[in-house]
Subunit: 235 residues, 2 copies
DNA sequence: GTCTATACGTGGATAGAC
DNA sequence: GTCTATCCACGTATAGAC
């Protein structure tokens, strides 16, 4: 709680750790993740190879720290900018777009997230245990857009994961988007959210509920049976 | 066309190539892809390291050959078993399930496909140029289920990619499915296809077209703008 | 063109001395 | 906490046998 003075000692290690991190991020952005070696990083940070490994057990650990930082920054940005916006669609738009803005300069880096998805046991697997917290936080950040909105039970159950999936989809798209300033990614977000709003409108129509409700329930049942919850398939 | 006798010489190299491939696959299945080294493979195949590299430029090239083989086998199986089945849903069921059956023993291997998805330029990226042919063939194999069926223009445009996505989703799910005999994956397929059929039924209802058509068109417009076609985002 | 033997460079990760 | 030295695996020669 208090500053007990041992902060100085802590800071010593933390400062070195940050030197590693900063050097790594600079090189990652310049050359890409794979092209950057731990030797490059330690050299750029002006230390021995072993020192860098002392602070980060692996190159992947540096990327993991980056993802946490991004999520933290994004959440802070969202919390900061949310009050000015009323409509849920506009809120979602702000949330989705700001995430892209945050990542736009790091397109060479974000591909690395997807690399471990096929390996359920890997700590960085997007769908695995290791990233559960980060995933949960992302869902929560997105969920801020819907605060105060009222949905039927069925929709409330499905919407967070649907939006999370959409969010991951936009990140994947960003990777492949070679358009200037990634304008296509922003356009995709806008159109996807317009579609989402349209679908939510349909779902809310009482007249259509004989058609809509069975479908929603079937989706829910499917996800339940597959044990896909917010955190996705269990391992 | 004819067997001109030079088949023997071809066979010599091809047989060695197959020895490499077989040894590699055995080891991949036993130990996993990453745990198997090219030295293991060449040793198991009873040859020098250089020989293995002579036939496959990298370990990944062996996996690439595996994916081609799987797609070929699956297509052959589907063509063989399709005539006995009438309903599109049952056809799709057969197609999706047989793919899982084909891969079931190789769960340690299929994760490798997803590894390069975050790297647009990598030849094995699922969404990249390098796998376009394979992807196209998969779409075609799945499309065999719909032969002779009539859909509206809007649906015909969207369905192949939707089914391809569903197919990739089931593969990803298979990876994470620790249930006995992967029963959950099979259940997921059945339920997803039931849902698909249900949705197609709704879409076909003329009474609902004022609601459904705008949505479909919006989806189409979105995919067009994003330049997502059958082969997915351009690089 | 196919295969062997062997050695080399690089990069991730670790062990152990200080 | 930091450094030096070392390990291990991938991939790449290369020189030569057939």
């Amino acid at each position: 709680m208090f500053n007990t003075g041992n902060e100085v000692e802590e800071t010593k290690a933390e400062r070195t750790r940050r030197r590693v991190y900063d050097a790594a991020m600079t090189l990652f952005r310049e050359q890409g993740f794979d092209q950057t070696t731990m030797r490059d990083i330690s050299q750029a940070a002006g230390m021995a190879l072993g020192t860098a490994y002392y602070h980060f057990p692996s190159k992947e650990a540096i990327i993991a720290a980056y993802y946490e930082a991004i999520q933290y920054q994004h959440h802070a940005y969202v919390v900061d900018h949310l009050p000015g916006i009323k409509s849920p669609q506009e809120r979602l738009r702000m949330i989705f777009r700001s995430k892209i803005e945050l990542l736009q300069g790091d397109r060479k880096l974000i591909g690395v997230i997807f690399r471990y998805t096929g390996d359920p046991l890997h700590p960085l697997s997007l769908l695995g245990e290791g990233t559960r917290d980060l995933q949960q936080q992302t869902v929560e950040t997105i969920g801020l857009a819907l605060r105060g909105e009222r949905f039927s039970r069925e929709v409330a159950e499905l919407l967070p994961m649907a939006l999370w999936s959409l969010h991951m989809g936009t990140l994947l798209y960003l990777l492949y988007d070679t358009s200037e300033q990634q304008t296509r990614t922003y356009a995709l977000i806008d159109q996807s959210l317009a579609l989402t709003t349209q679908l939510l409108g349909v779902v809310r129509q009482p007249l259509l509920s004989p058609v809509v409700l069975p479908i929603l329930r079937q989706v829910s049942g499917l996800l339940d049976a597959a044990q896909i919850n917010l955190t996705l398939p269990k391992t």
